[in-house]
Amino acid sequence: MSTLAQTSVLGPRWGALHVAEYRIRNMWKWRGAILAFGLGHPILYLASIGLGVGLLVDANSGGVDGVPYLIFLGPALMATAAVQGGGDEATFPTLAGFIWNKLFYSMRATSLTGAQIATGVLISAGARVLFTSTAYWLVLALFGAVGWGTAPGLIAVGMLGGLAWGAVMLAITGFVHHEDGFMALMGRLVVMPMFLFSGTFYPLDAMPLAVRWLGWISPLWHTTELGRWVSYGAPLPAWQILLSIGYLLVLLVVGLAIGRRQFERRLTS
């Protein structure tokens, strides 16, 4: 009885993918809402701010960063949707799995490990970011805010930003034991400032130096900058491109590593 056959069980090697499969099946049930939000959000933003505010900006200053306002704003909005989508799809399933319906504990009774559950959640967040980014890009292209050839580059940037922020939120949420107010706090103290100080609506350079660092540490600013570079060739020095990619990769790798360790610990104690 010393060796256990894997018999009908394929084994836990691809556990993270099985977790992602479950999450994506779950999202599929909400496909109507996800599609409506994925397309409705950019249409509303582009129509109101992109065209409306853009008209004012372009009439008064002839655009921003050398391009019309709509072109300047488009990649930033897409980055915002990707980063926010990645964060949400890492945060909510984690809160649900540990606190609301404790599904992680039933998963943990199978051959899955805590680390695989963490990775699976992030993979499914990536799937959501891929969908959101693609939908956003399509709307941007239809509005003429991005060129038709920018799809691979912009979607890749969206994926990188979304997964990086998703990994950070995965790690943080893994430590949350009582939901009360966590989401509201994160929304007001982290996500909202990140949105405001990431050079989304105007270049970060227009900010006083004292608050510019908020943008520098924000994954959203790095994603936005990369998006503008890919979209209309915003003049970024090579070092900044590498730094932004590197920063996002570090967040992704470190966030996922901490998340995996914390999920494993929490599910075995």
């Binding site: 009885m1 010393s2 060796t3 256990l4 894997q6 018999t7 009908s8 069980v9 394929l10 084994g11 836990p12 090697r13 691809w14 556990g15 099985h18 977790v19 499969e21 479950y22 099946r25 779950n26 049930k29 319906n101 404790k102 599904l103 504990y105 039933s106 998963m107 943990r108 009774a109 199978t110 051959s111 899955l112 490990t113 599910l267 075995t268 104690s269």
Partner: protein
């Protein structure tokens, strides 16, 4: 199948399980009986390879859960104390999804889901949402889900707590069938009738320790008498009367609401009590149960009163 030696779990200063030794053999139905807080569920989680032990040795299916958790869990079925079914999925999807966590192939699972729905008598609820099920149905679904990987050992933590008597009997019937197919069952419970019904052998746990071990009938023979006379004289008189019952039965227990007289001849001793001039408000002669064993071993009842 399972071997525990000196198995211990501590949370800081608190010892939830303190150096317990036991073993479970193949095909056996093994019970862990004890009151709430005795350490049953903690023991169960260690057996389920989802909780690291603090000290001692533990071998499950020949492997150490610390080293080979996923491999061991691939061959276990776990029915937790609280149903943690997925409320967003249907009955059939709950089983299917769970099977996918084990990496079971989709085609195999479609067949398996049908078999398990039949076993759990939930065929006509296949497309129902979990929240529309009764408590008994949820339990049966949780058990069906735990069987999706054809486990060698099924761990059931308080399987019938909170169920009405009829639902309990349906569940017991399903567990008997499983036992007949050769599945090893490990069951925790604080219901002595459940332990008597389901378990070939059991350990009695109290305050993190094992206080007795054996088959239900052997434990009753060892720690109790054949019969018990229960007499009630009213809460304020029980202790008074008990003081005058020396020589009747082998020993007494005075509880808040009744006196228990342990004896080999229940009817005869009841007549002697009445003969002494103590006329009980109600009286009952019954066979000894595991409840009496527990009371004798710990001085307390199993179910908090």
């Amino acid at each position: 199948m399972i071997r525990a030696a000196g198995l211990t779990k501590q949370y800081g200063q608190f010892t939830a399980v303190s150096g317990v030794d036991f073993h479970v053999d193949r095909g056996e139905s093994f019970g862990i009986l004890g009151p709430n807080g005795a350490g049953k569920s903690t023991t169960m989680r260690m057996l389920g390879a989802t909780l690291q032990r603090t000290a001692g040795d533990l071998s499950i299916l020949g492997h150490d859960p610390t080293a080979d958790g996923p491999l061991i869990r691939a061959h276990l079925g776990v029915v937790p104390q609280e149903d943690n079914l997925d409320p967003e999925l249907t009955v059939a999807e709950n089983i299917y999804t769970y099977g996918r966590y084990f990496g079971l192939p989709r085609t195999h699972l479609h067949e398996r889901v049908d078999e398990l729905l039949e076993f759990a008598q939930l065929e006509d609820k296949r497309k129902a949402k979990v929240n529309d099920l009764s408590g008994g149905m949820k339990r049966r679904l949780t058990i069906a889900r735990a069987l999706v990987n054809e486990p060698t050992i099924l761990l059931l933590d308080e399987p019938t707590t909170g169920l009405d008597p009829q639902a309990r009997h349906v569940l017991w019937d399903r567990l008997f069938r499983l036992k007949e197919t050769g599945v090893t069952l490990v069951i925790t419970t604080h219901y002595m009738d459940e332990a008597e019904q389901l378990c070939d052998r059991l350990v009695v746990m109290d305050r993190a320790r094992i206080v007795a071990e054996g088959s239900p009938s052997a434990l009753i023979r060892q720690y109790s008498t054949k019969e018990v006379v229960e007499v009630r004289f009213g809460a304020d008189r029980n202790a008074d009367v008990a003081a005058h019952l020396d020589g009747i039965g082998t020993r007494h227990e005075v509880l808040a609401d009744r006196i228990l007289v342990y004896t080999e001849h229940g009817e005869a001793d009841l007549e002697r009590i009445v003969g002494l001039g103590y006329l009980p408000i109600t009286s009952l002669v019954r066979r000894s149960s595991l409840e009496d064993v527990f009371l004798h071993l710990t001085g307390r009842s199993l179910v908090d009163e």
